[in-house]
Amino acid sequence: MKRWLWYIIIPSTLFLAFIGVWLVISGGESSLNQMTLFKESFLIHLPQDEKLAKRELQKARRALARLKPSRPYIVIDTHANLIFLRTENSVLFKATCSTGSGGELIDSATGRRWVFNTPRGVFKVTSKLVDPWWRKPDWAFIEENESIPKDPAQRLDPEMLGEYALGFGDDYYIHGTIYERLLGVNVTHGCVRVGSDDLKKLYDMVSIGTLIYIF
């Protein structure tokens, strides 16, 4: 090999090794966008005047306090499949549940696609139902390789949802199940399944308007 080639190979290798070590040491940093997003927060200061500063601080405290739910709220942990009724500092009720499987279903005939995830975010209990009947949606028939019935009565199932249901919008419910053995596993189509005894307790403890936090 020609000698001058070494003058290129050696520095390049050293440079690449340096980059490699630097990457290993740094371990990746947060993106610049995130940093700029909160840049303002670092620059925030109280007014110099003590009275004004105190007032400003009280205002900020009030704003933070307003974010906290004023009464017990439901928390659904889709990672560990747990449901809680809690306040900021204490857990009032805890039970195992089942949440969305994340599975996907595609109707080969029409190309329609469903992803069975439990929605995440903040919701409210919008309805409280006793002995709810399930109105089976199209995917329930497609999944079973059955034809979709034209008669709406054929969609009704009185057993599947258990004895109680708490609706939280868009046809999502916290409800009972006939498959209690599967509690704790992500097997649902998006609803939250709870065992019958726990569901009864939860049903009695919450009212319409109770906040639901799903993460």
Binding site: F42, E50, L57, L64, D77, G184
Partner: protein, 247 residues
């Protein structure tokens, strides 16, 4: 008001006069009581703040500035639909919050209880610009154990037409959360798990060894397996982390 005109007797007219007079006393009295009740509620609410109400005592500007910055930063985080983490060394608690509400919390139980380590972690987190927020840059799972036996999930998966791998949840035995800048929070549980990606684990350990001479803050926390599962899965790269430094 019709109920004042029930009868023409002198007793009722005296009663009328008394009630009319009482109205002028009752109205200010009621307003006073309502105001007092409201101010008491307000005091209780502000008393719930993470930092004790300093305004009631001697005004400590530095502490007030810190609290103000923390509140403003948290208000900003709570505006988003995303989860955020709060490392509160004042209350010794690790929290996940959504829209300002606590959705998960766990007491910070330092494995190798040494306040020097906590101080180093906090100093490194804050850096020269005294920042209170950083973003998770990564996580690494060293060892884990399947939550549900594969054989059961194979049957369940077939019944619900879902990939058994999708249904499986690995309960972490040991994992690390990384924020960059040499900041690491290591979570250990008391379960013995199967090693995960040994090559990557070796590289991560190697990285720590290389970084140590340049400075590193490494906290080790003990946790219950179910909580470790939640934290590991909820902690995605980019997760905003707010730090409440010890007072």
């Amino acid at each position: 008001m019709t109920w004042f005109q029930l009868g023409p007797s002198s007793t009722s007219s005296n009663l009328q006069k008394m009630l009319l007079k009482a109205r002028w006393i009752a109205l200010p009295l009621c307003s006073f009581l309502i105001c007092t009740a409201l101010s008491t509620c307000e005091k209780r609410k502000s008393g719930q703040s993470s930092i004790p109400n300093q305004t009631a005592k001697k005004w400590n500007r530095e502490r007030a500035e810190l609290e103000y910055r923390l509140i403003q930063t948290e208000l900003k985080l709570a505006k988003s639909e995303e989860l955020y983490m709060v490392l509160n060394f004042q209350r010794k608690v690790l929290r996940l919050k959504l829209k300002g509400a606590v959705v998960w919390d766990y007491p910070i139980d330092i494995y190798e209880a040494d306040s020097q380590e906590v101080r180093e972690f906090v100093e490194r987190f804050q850096g020269d610009d005294r920042r209170l927020i950083r973003f998770l840059s990564g996580k690494h799972l060293f060892a884990a154990q399947h939550k549900t036996p594969d054989s059961i999930l194979a049957i369940v998966g077939e019944a619900v037409r879902a990939n058994p791998e999708l249904l499986q949840r690995d309960v972490p035995a040991r994992f690390q959360l990384l924020w960059g800048y040499g900041l690491t929070l290591e979570v250990r549980t008391d379960i013995v798990g199967q090693p995960k990606s040994p090559l990557k684990s070796t590289l991560v350990e190697f990285r720590h060894a290389l970084r140590r001479p340049f400075g590193e803050a490494h906290l080790i926390v003990k946790m219950r397996p179910a909580d470790a599962l939640t934290l590991y899965r909820a902690a995605r790269p980019g997760l905003p982390t707010l730090l409440y430094p010890p007072l």
